[in-house]
Amino acid sequence: MPVVALTDNYTFPSRSRQELYGDDQLVHVLWKGNRMMAAAATFRAPKAMPWADFLGALVDPWAASDPDYVPGSGSGWTLDGQPLQPDPGKGLAELGVGHKSLLTFEA
């Protein structure tokens, strides 16, 4: 449904659009079933960042907020609702992770 506005031509760009992040993008990561973490985390990561680096440099330090987390123990990954078997050497974009994609895991 279009916005009801004073002018006919009401269009403005998204204030979170991908181009504002250069070669990077925003990625959400939700730790399913762990209610210690109040919400999913949002990271800024290079599109070409290999999965293993993404886990080691961004996901692990965040998940370690919970002292019971064992680094690298995440399993059952999903990407935007679909199961994901990530190849650790592949880049995020190559794995299909887009701007503001949602990754989930269990541990």
Binding site: P2, M36, A41, T42, H99, K100
Partner: protein, 502 residues
């Protein structure tokens, strides 16, 4: 000689008699904002003003109330009133108030000044003018009242800057900006009806009752001083909606959609108040659940909405979700603020045993099962010398801007995730309600200034947490754990020679 005019005659002279129809300028050019929303008004004179104030009586009343308030503030300062609170932790509630509510008073002042200029009818114009002045007065008196505490406690010094910048304050800020960037009728429903009528007892009143229960005499006196204004504002909200519904049947579906939208926007905003009531007040007033049942379910759903049925208005869409959430809302939000308080303008801590016993009593079905284990784990971490913080930034809802902490209806263990792709970009929502608000007007909400996304663009002081906190205007002691904080240490030192409360 004629006698003096009666108050009613003076009021009529002040409003109706000073109105005229422009004849050498197109009226649509004088009032350019009142037609594009589709609202039809046939007879502005049918607007009846519940409070027929004239300028001189208005100022007389307000001056008297101000005199009383400032006398209390003087007495408070002379009597070292900052020492006689229930506990220093109480002020976390008032920090939230001066950061998140006082700037809304100022925003409301601007909002009603705009309405006072743009309505075609003299009755609502004058009512909006009076309310605009009220809101400015509230801004000033709140600042003067709370500045008494600012001399001694953290978190209150940069409230204007914080309101513009800090992540959780973007929740109230975006609510008002959403309203003020809408047309005059929608914004009237957003502020006068949804904010000042539908939700006022859940929004504003808890702070003032909290003040009264926790020994904060100045804030309580401010509350009293604002009360007669607030009841005038409430009446304006109700009058506005009834007037618009009576003017034309075609207005009904438009207003219904605004009620649906602004109920949900307002309800998400009061999530911050829900946790304040249950977790920030050392001496409790009532629980969020009790407050929601009394002020919303009983008074609004079973009262107001029964009256509005006559006009063809039904209860707000998504209201069922709010009812379902009443047992979990305050806990989920408090838990979130606990783990993000490293970036907040107040302190948090694990509720002590007495506090948890009260929560257990108020929430027998949910507290022990869902929330006590989290607090127990946080306490254990703290006992081992750590402090549980979320070491990252949270995913935010595109509409309400609250971190995506809310859970699926009927499943309090699964975080609700809703996504919409609009013009090739993905947007995230915390609930069906926020998704629905977005889908009505995506062109508007794609512009949302989401604190987390902005931090990652590097425009909030820098990439590291300390740089962002400095940009927020936060200083040492404003944030983080309460135990051992500056406020806590000062409070203990000030009371070291005499037990608290003696």
């Amino acid at each position: 000689m004629s006698k003096k005019l009666s108050m009613q005659q003076r009021y009529a002279a002040l409003t109706r008699d000073l109105d005229w129809t422009p004849d050498y300028v197109d009226p649509a050019k004088v009032f350019p904002l009142t037609s594009f929303e589709g609202i039809k008004v046939h007879d502005w004179s049918a607007w009846s003003d519940p409070f027929r104030l004239t300028v001189d009586t208005y100022h007389k009343y307000q001056a008297e109330k101000d005199k009383r308030l400032y006398a209390v503030i003087d007495g408070f300062a002379q009597g070292q009133g900052h020492l006689s609170l229930s506990d220093a932790q109480y002020l976390n509630a008032m920090k939230l108030f001066i950061q998140g509510v006082t700037p809304l008073e100022y925003a409301a002042h601007r909002h009603f000044a705009q309405l006072a200029r743009h309505f075609d009818g003299p009755g609502p114009r004058f009512a909006a003018l009076c309310q605009s002045i009220d809101e400015l007065r509230h801004t000033q008196t709140e600042v003067h009242t709370l500045s008494q505490y600012n001399k001694y406690y953290g978190g209150m010094h940069s409230n204007w800057k914080m309101f513009d910048r800090v992540w959780y304050l973007s929740v109230p800020k975006s609510y008002f900006e959403d309203a003020m960037s809408a047309g005059p009728f929608e914004s009237l429903i957003a502020i006068s009806f949804s904010f000042e009528y539908l939700l006022t007892n859940l929004l504003f009143v808890p702070f003032m009752s909290g003040a009264s229960f926790n020994g904060d005499l100045p804030s309580m006196t401010f509350g009293f001083s604002a009360q007669s204004d607030e009841s005038r504002h409430m009446t304006l909200g109700l009058e506005a909606i009834k007037f618009l519904l009576e003017q034309d049947e075609a207005n009904v579906p438009i207003i219904q959609a605004w009620i649906d939208k602004w109920f949900w926007r307002g309800y998400r905003l009061v999530a911050l108040i829900a946790q304040m009531i249950d977790y920030m007040l050392p001496k409790k007033v009532m629980s969020w659940k009790e407050s929601f049942e009394l002020y919303f379910e009983e008074q609004m759903l079973n009262g107001l909405f029964k009256d509005l049925e006559f006009y063809g208005i039904r209860p707000p869409m998504h209201v069922q979700q709010a009812i379902e959430e009443k047992e979990i809302l305050s806990h989920q939000v408090a838990w979130t603020l606990y783990q993000f308080s490293f970036a907040a303008g107040f302190n948090t801590t694990v509720p002590d045993e007495e506090h948890q016993a009260w929560l257990r009593e108020q929430y027998p079905d949910t507290f022990d099962k869902l929330f006590a284990p989290q607090w127990a784990k946080a306490k254990k971490i703290q006992e081992e010398g750590g402090r549980f913080f979320f070491q990252g930034l949270p995913q935010l809802c595109q509409v309400c801007q609250v971190p995506m902490l809310f859970t699926e209806v009927g499943d309090p263990e699964t975080i609700c995730q809703r996504q919409v792709v609009y013009e090739d970009e993905r947007y995230d929502f915390c609930s069906d309600g926020c998704q629905w608000v977005f889908e009505r007007e995506p062109e508007k909400y794609v512009q949302a200034w989401l604190p987390v996304h902005q931090i990652y663009q590097g425009v909030c002081g820098g990439p590291s947490v300390p740089e962002v906190l400095a940009w927020y205007g936060l200083q040492e002691g404003d944030s983080g754990e309460y135990i051992g904080s500056l406020d806590h240490k000062d409070w203990l030192a000030w009371h070291a020679t005499a037990p608290v409360g003696s």
